[in-house]
Every structure is written in C-alpha cells, then in structure tokens.
Amino acid sequence: MVLAGVCTAAQGSTRSRESNGLPSFVSDIEDRAPGGSLTYAAEQEPTGFNGNTSTGATTAVKNVTENLFFYAMKARPDSGVDYVGLEREPKVISSQPQLIEWELRREAIWSDGTPVTVADVQHYFEQVMLKDPAQVSTENANGYVNDVASRVGYDQITKFTRVDDKTFRAEFGPAYGDYRSLWTDIPQARFMRAQRGGWDTGLDDTPGPSAGPYLFKEWNKGESLVLVRNDQWWGSPKPTLDSIVFRFLPDTASQVTALRNNEVDMIYPQPQVDLVQEIRSLPGIRHSIGFGPTFEHLTFNLKHELLSDRAVRQAIAWGVDRNEIVDRLLKPFSSRAVRVDNSVVLVGQAGYEAHGAEYHSADPARARAALDSSGYVRGVDGIYEKGGRRLSLRLATTADNQLRAQQAELMRNQLSRVGIEVRIETVSARLFFGERLPGGDFDIANFAWAGGPFPISAAKQVWQTGSDSNYGGYSSPAFDRAAAEGAVELDRTDQLVLANAMDRALWEDLAVLPLYQKPTLLAVRDRFVNVTDNPTNEGPFWRAQVWGLRKKTS
C-alpha cells in the first residue's frame, strides 16, 4: 500500500503557483459567458464509474465521478477540507466510544429529482463491508463479498445508525482519527440496487443519476466520454459550460500537438523542462505549475548488510545534495520548487515542519567523517571498504522516467565524491512496484509516495512495524507509538503534532530521505476561465462547476 489519502500540498496554489494568468484557488471567480464545451486530453480512460473497486480506484475514474457522485467532503488545495455535501462539519457526539454525526445537505438531490439521503450512504457502506461466511478463505479471512479497493476507515465502524433521512451516526471501535475523510464518491443507492452487476460491475458502463454539477451523457470507448451540465444541481455557483469532453490521448506529445491544433483545450501532463518550454511558446494557452501531494524520496533497505549501519545512511544523507537536485532539475521550469524536509506532512500543508536540519545542505566532509568513524577505509579507487567489502550500493528506480534517470545520475556523481559507489538499476514500474519493492530486492529505492490531508493513516501504512508497504523494513517504537496515538486522536491540531513526531522518528533513524514534491502542470486555452489545479489528488476537476467561457469585454 502507498501513503493513503487525499492530500494536499497547497504550495501549488497561492504560494508556489507559477502564475501565468491562472487565478489561485482563493482568488475571485471570474465572470463567465454562458455555454461552451471544454475538451480535456485524458491520459487514461476510466474502466467504469465505481471508484472503489480494484480496477476503478484510479485518477481516470475519479476525474469523471468527481462531478457526478455525492461527496461529503473534498480536499482544498491548502490541505483544508470543504464539506461540500454536508450541512456542517461532522459532529463528535462522544469520543469514548467515538460517535460521529453527519448531516447531509438538505437541498442535495439526484438528477432524477429524488433527494440524496442516508439510504445512499448506508447502501454504500453496506456494500463496502458486505461479508459472507461462505466466502471465507485463506486470502479472504473476513469473507468480504465485493471487490473493494479500500475499506480504510469504513472497517472501523462498528455501528451505523440512521437518525433521519438526512442525518446518520457512526460508532467507531477503536477510535478512527481520520473520520473526516469518509463518505466520498457515492453513487445513488437505488440505481446501484437495480444494476445486475451489483457493486463489482454494475457501474461499468453508466454511472446512473448525478448529484454533482454535471451529468453523464455518453461514452465512446477508446475515444471520448462526455459530461453535460446538470441544471438540477443544488450547489453553487451553478455550472455554465454546456459540456466537458474527456478525450483519451495516452501520449503526451500528441496531447501538446492537439492543444496547439485546437483539438483539445486542457492538458495535465507530467511536467518536464522541454515540455514546459513548448507549452510556454503556445499562443492562447495559459499554464500553471503546482506542487503535488506526491514526493520523491530514497527508501533505504534497512535489512541490507551495509545500509543497516546508520553511519552509512548518514553519509548518504550528507552526500546527496538535495538542493542541487532541486536547482538543476526543477528550478528550470519552476523557480519556487523546494526541497521537502518532512515525509509525513508536506510543504504547504498546515502543520508542515522542516525536520532533519543537519541534513539540509550537503556536507561531503561530514559524510566521509561518518564513514571513517564507522571503521570504513578508502580503497585505491576512492571507494570506501570495510572488512574487504566495498561500499557499493544499487539504486533502483523506475524506467522510462526522464526526471528519475537524471536525478539518479546526479546522485551517483554526488555520492562518488564521498566515496560511495552507486549502481543505477532501472526497472519497469510494474516490476519495480510488483516485485522489487514487495520482495525487498533493492538497496536504495527512488520512487514517490502520496501524502494527504490525513497524514497519519497514510504514513502509518508505510512505516509502521510490519506494515505491507514498509518496504525498507523500518521498525521504531517511537514512530509506532506516535502513529498509534495519532490514529485515534480526534483533534486536528493534536493529530498534526503527532504526525510531526512520526516524521522526527524517521529522521532520527534515517529510514527515508525525502527529496522534493513532484510538480504538476496544467495548461488551459485562454478562452476558458476559473480552471485551476488542486494539486492534491483531487486534481483539476475538483471545482469544475466554476469553469466557463471568458466573458468578452465590450
């Protein structure tokens, strides 16, 4: 598992946005002219509309359903939370046992005219947790019936009570601190019940009625998916665009040409220097760079004979010049790119603290001193040795990623200066995530984790002792204690204190070396206004109701 949750490095919005005319998320919404259709070049095609099945839990699906289904909350770019579908913030009725009350928006209705009610939420919950003793097996110890990607949080609910049509309560056992993240992406219960395929495949071809600002119109598989304005939508401001078209274009180069050739109006590709320069040169296109919720890092395999020595990890942390990586690889297209010094709470998120101060700038002399004091001696070729074993380590990362290839090369050079040999190994993403990481077949791994506005449950999954995604084999009583306390802490401020305590433990043990947050790039045709990125995993579709045609100034 990966760092869970929605998150936000809101750095991408007001503070670090490379504004090329795009409004920041808090700025005024510009006036819109009625009508218009925006075509988005989508890299991936959705697999269906149920965003919580093993095949559907992707950004491609979420980008579509974000404007169709019921959402109790959405993450804001500043890591705050908007309770878009609720009357108010969920209310803590009691904390021992933890009992929380949610009240759905009174005016919330589906596009078929029926109200959004507790029945919709309850049906979703029941489907997620549906069990059948006949299904119990070694792989499925709980006997779960449906193909559900994530039950995180829902599996802590011991009792679900309907208070009235719009109000319900959930009791958690033990406590679940991130209860605010629940009840998103919920389809209409009545529609789901009527589908023969049920939870697993019932929403494969059509999403049913909409509770969002847009309605599903058609899906030509392999080509495009069209959403049209939902005039019945209960929220505000009302959408003005006639339609949003998702056009499936897997190749970034094709996307840019299509943008230039007026075939699409908006792209959201992985930024690279030459790509950003090309987009900058396009007339009539505005772009913005944000800093997303995923951060690049080095994970050390703590079971490795050499890396289990903290002095070696320290030497690497002093040897790798993280500032040089940011300056050379990110600054060329974003002057506000920064190093990240926290693996739990990210830059731009509320509660961010820069830890690991002694490693903020590279210090080759200190790196060498650490190795000297740990009994290493320099060999004839300048590479350290201890007991006849060379300090030579594999750096594994994913193939076909220019940025990673460049930074791996840079780190190899930096570490060779302190006497550590690095052998770069690039493997396909599937092999890397599917076999190398789970199998512990790496020395140092360079990849990215996604953070979120609910950092504790996310970080807990990655570094808690024995956790599935704890690829480096990290184990720390200090971290585990803070994580356990954080998981049941209901107060946001206290949660962040504990989240930072978790990160301090990570720095103390140097289990991971965070590098920087990955930039996001949104380019939109000038004809449209109010299209802004939310560089959390909400993405640019988080507020599509405010998109519209630019009003002509008379």
């Binding site: 093993s54 792989e139 193909d147 994530s150 058609e218 392999g222 075939e263 599937r430 599917g434 999954q461």
Partner: protein, 324 residues
Amino acid sequence: MARFLIRRLAHSVPVVVVSSFLVFAMVAAAGDPLAELRSRPGVAPETIALRSEQLQLHKPVPERYLGWVARAARGDLGTSVTGEPVAPLILRHLGVTLRMVLLAVPLGVAGAVLIGVGSALRPRSVLDRAGTVLSMALVATPVFWLAGLLKEAGVRFNEAVGRTVVFTVGERSPGIEGSWLAMAVDRAGHLVLPTLTLALVAMAGWSRFQRAATIEVLHATYVESARARGLPERRVVGVHALRNALIPLTAVVATDFAAILGGAVLVEVVFAWRGMGRLLLDAVNGSDVHVATGWLVVTASVVIVLNLLADLVYAALDPRIRDA
C-alpha cells in the same frame, strides 16, 4: 489447388501455436498486472489476493496457457485484466486499423502506378529521377518519423489558414453533432494525415516495383511485335504493356498487406487512433496476457488469410505457380 491451400494452412497453424505460447509466457514474465493496484492507497491485501486468484497468477504459466488454449479453441479469448471480454475488444480495434489501411492501400497503389509507369516510359527523365529520389527517401524514412513530419506540416497548414482543417488526433471530433455533411467533413479531416502517411510509405516500394515491371514488359517480345505490326504507341502501352505490367503488382500488394498492417500500428499510435497498435502497447505495458496473446492470434490469422489470398491471386494470374 485445395491441396496447396491445405498444405499452406498446415504450415501456418503450428507457427501460431508456438508464437502464442511465447507471447503468453513473455508477457506473463514481464511483470505483474496488479502492480499498479499494489501501489495504490489503502488497497486491502485480501483485494489483491482475490484479484490474483481471478487472474490465476498463482498458477504456473504453462498451466495458465493450456487453460487459455482450451477456452480459445471454443472461441473464448478470455477477459482482459480489467475484466473486458477480449474478442470484442480486439475486433473493435481491428476495425479502426482496417479503416485506415483500406483507404491507404488504393491511394498507395494509385500513386505507385502513376510514378512507376511514368518513370518507366521516360527512363532517366526528370520525372524518373524525381520519382526515384522520392521513393528512396520514403523507403529510408522510419514510418513514425514521417508521421511526425506530416503532423507538424498539418498543424502549420491549419495555422496558415486560420482554422483546424486537418486533425492530428483520433478518428473524429468527440461529441460532434450536425449535418451528415459536417460529420463527413470532420471524419475526412481526421483521415488525411494518417492515411497519407501510410499511403506514402506503401507507394514508395511499390512504385519501384511498378517501374521495373513496366520496363520489363516494354521490352518483351510481344510488345516489340505489337510495335512491329504498326500499332500506335498509345495502344501498345495502354492495352498490351500496361495490363500485363499491373498483374505482378496485384500480388505484391496482397503480400505486403501484412507489412502495411504493421506500419498502421505505428501510424495509429502517432495519430492517437485506438487501433491494434495501441491495444498491443497497452496489453504489453499492462502485463495483460490474454489481450496480448489474443492480439497475436487474431493478427496472425489475418496475415495468414491475406497471404493465402495473395497466393490465390498469384496462382490465378500465373498458372505456373498453380501447377508447381
């Protein structure tokens, strides 16, 4: 003739079987179709275990392959990693690719005949030399590069005329509504660049072939004798020479059809058509063994049928082949 066909088929089937196993084994070994799922937030281990069981990932590859063969023999090519039935998926993509190919082939033939015959009638003329240079340049150009060049040219053309006339991605504008004519114009605008790319590539080789065939025929004794009988040159070339010079090209086109399909696979990736090329790329990248193997079997079958067709055409045109 029937024995000839049966013999050809008997050679083809083992090739398909062996290559399908190789593709199956290689794609299965190349990665884990659930890798992405594993790297997603909060996915429960039991979810991964269940998917792994559905996809039979725990079984050895030969056993999975045999299971697939047993189902494929009954016409069931299985389901993709995302649960979509493979057979209709392949047919849909094949249709897209064929649409491009079926238009490009006649265009390529027409261009090849014009250049080939024109060059043969006036050897070493400006037309001949220009035709030779063009053909050689096109033969030497990688197809995806040519596609990229034409794409750039198309965009510049649009910029020059101030509106989008030719399109660079897809087969049509999504969600387009309007008259029958407007839709047809839109489709045509999308077809121009990919069809032109494919037609140019095909034309290059064929025009050289057509030139050689025409020169050979022009020096044949029956043409000489037609001239000796005092027939006008137009009639000699138009009726006697050209008709015979076109026959070999027919067979070459049929044989080359498989190569054109291969070229189409690259062209459609550049122009973002969702055809067989994209399907194969996605299947290999996604470690989707059923789609990749199904792709191979269907493509191989198409190629085998086309080659048989080429043999039949050739045999019909040249009795020496049939009797051999």
